[in-house]
Symmetry: C2
Subunit: 258 residues, 2 copies
């Protein structure tokens, strides 16, 4: 089972769009996917057509141990389950402030998951706090969506510091990979920034680049992954390619964990 | 003196771009502006060409009372000062968790500002926590940049709940105005969403709509407000129009406060 955090504290860089569409495309390839919405703003949940305000429980209750994943999840499609986010998640950090073991709540929840998923993906909020820490602590991999602007790499440095801290203090390895998102071919420096990311991350950067594609935004408004909304959309093609790259890593990941 | 929080917990909806360019355009109109970067990610600071990693002090030290605004600010241009953000701001919420009066730190800092600014603008982080609460507590007005996608209004509801809470519990009135940002004329529903915002906010919505304009993103990469980067950019024209609308409100605001 591969566990992948989708993380970047920068707002609006495509975490949720990646979480939704990579999950959907992996499910289309026959993998069994659980997507966990770890953001109190619950946009992954809304982007998959779930009415957040009607939910009695979600990821928060699972983290606090008052509900199981099986009882809380929403089936989205064949091979695609969602653990929905709710605003209760905004209480998590304050509630557990200073408590020992507060970084292990998601990891502990993973250990109680009954179904043998192929992939668990975690959509993180735009902050570098306790929720993101839990995701990096629990997952073996992280995808960092990087939107093409000048300061994107600067902020990523701080996220990589957290990964390093987790490696040293908790002896937990997170395999990180960068993904260029919202790429705008017409923007000056778009190419320079993408090259900058690729030089910094080298083979830790996906070959697939996700371009700006209004269909990705429209699909979310309909509560659909882009492939359900417009099969001919560039965004669908690119997230399918990303899913192919992720699946191709399977051999490599298994070797590393052996 | 008008005090305006630029707030919306949604990531990447144009808060920082609005904070930078509205400040710059108001300064061009001869107003004396202080822009306060209240985001630990300090993108307003970087977007104005200040090297955040070299700063010994910033907004955090001013909030905690260990440095004055005068000693901490960076002059950016004629009539345009910046109180720079630093990563220290990420400690603010945890440090003051549970402490009485923790929502008044920015308000108290305002009272110690020596210079008679015409406007203080505050760039908020993408979260609905203690920093944003401080901004709404300290400011008399708020601009809510709303990016055109389906769930934008849903999240804004929670921010408006915070405004309502502050009105009831602290008897403090924040005059809120919505700003449609990153408007993409080619996107289906872009128009519907903008109309939705205008119907919800009525005269509490700016007439000016900020369109997607790559020059806004490029200018920030150069550490410049867009008007310093490309005078012919649509983004410059639109933020100038926004500044005109804000200034036109001056009569109205003065009447309300009398
Ligand atoms: N490749 C793309 N092309 C066009 N629009 C996109 C693309 N990726 C994301 N968007 C849109 O940009 C906005 C921000 O994207 P998204 O919500 O995925 O980012 P995020 O990093 O999850 O944001 P947050 O930090 O708030 O969690 C959304 O309206 C989304 O639909
Ligand atoms: N009107 C616009 N046209 C094109 N790009 C824009 C526009 N407004 C903002 N951007 C770009 O979109 C990205 C996000 O904008 P910005 O940083 O202003 O949002 P924010 O709400 O402050 O984000 P955060 O939630 O992370 O603080 C930046 O790269 C910015 O340059
Ligand atoms: Mg998101
Ligand atoms: Mg910002």
């Amino acid at each position: 089972m591969r566990t992948i955090a989708i993380a970047n504290q920068k707002g609006g860089c495509g975490k949720t769009t990646t979480a939704i569409n990579l999950s959907a495309c992996l499910a289309r390839k026959g993998r069994d996917i659980l997507l966990i919405d770890l953001d109190p703003q619950a946009h992954a949940t809304m982007g998959l057509g779930v009415a957040v305000q009607d939910l009695k429980k979600g990821t928060y209750e699972v983290l606090m141990g008052s509900s199981s994943v099986t009882d809380t999840l929403k089936p989205i499609a064949e091979g695609f389950d969602l653990l929905p986010g709710t605003v209760m998640l905004s209480a998590f950090e304050q509630k557990l402030a200073g408590q020992p073991g507060r970084e292990d709540y998601l990891k502990n929840a993973f250990q109680k998951i009954e179904k043998a998923y192929d992939y668990i993906l975690v959509d993180c909020p735009p902050s570098i706090g306790l929720l993101t820490f839990n995701a990096l602590r629990a997952c073996n991999e992280a995808i960092i969506p990087i939107e093409g602007s000048f300061f994107s790499l600067w902020g990523v440095g701080r996220l990589l510091d957290m990964v390093e801290l987790i490696r040293e203090e908790l002896s937990h390895e997170v395999r990180v990979k960068a993904l260029c998102t919202m790429f705008d071919g017409r923007a000056k420096f778009s190419r320079e920034i993408a090259e900058d990311v690729m030089n910094n991350f080298k083979d830790r950067c996906f070959q697939t680049v996700i371009h700006v594609n209004v269909k990705l935004k429209e699909a979310a408004s309909f509560g659909l992954p882009v492939g359900e909304y417009d099969k001919r959309a560039r965004g669908f093609r690119e997230y399918r390619n990303l899913a192919t790259e992720v699946v191709e890593d399977e051999g490599e990941v298994r070797v590393e964990e052996a």
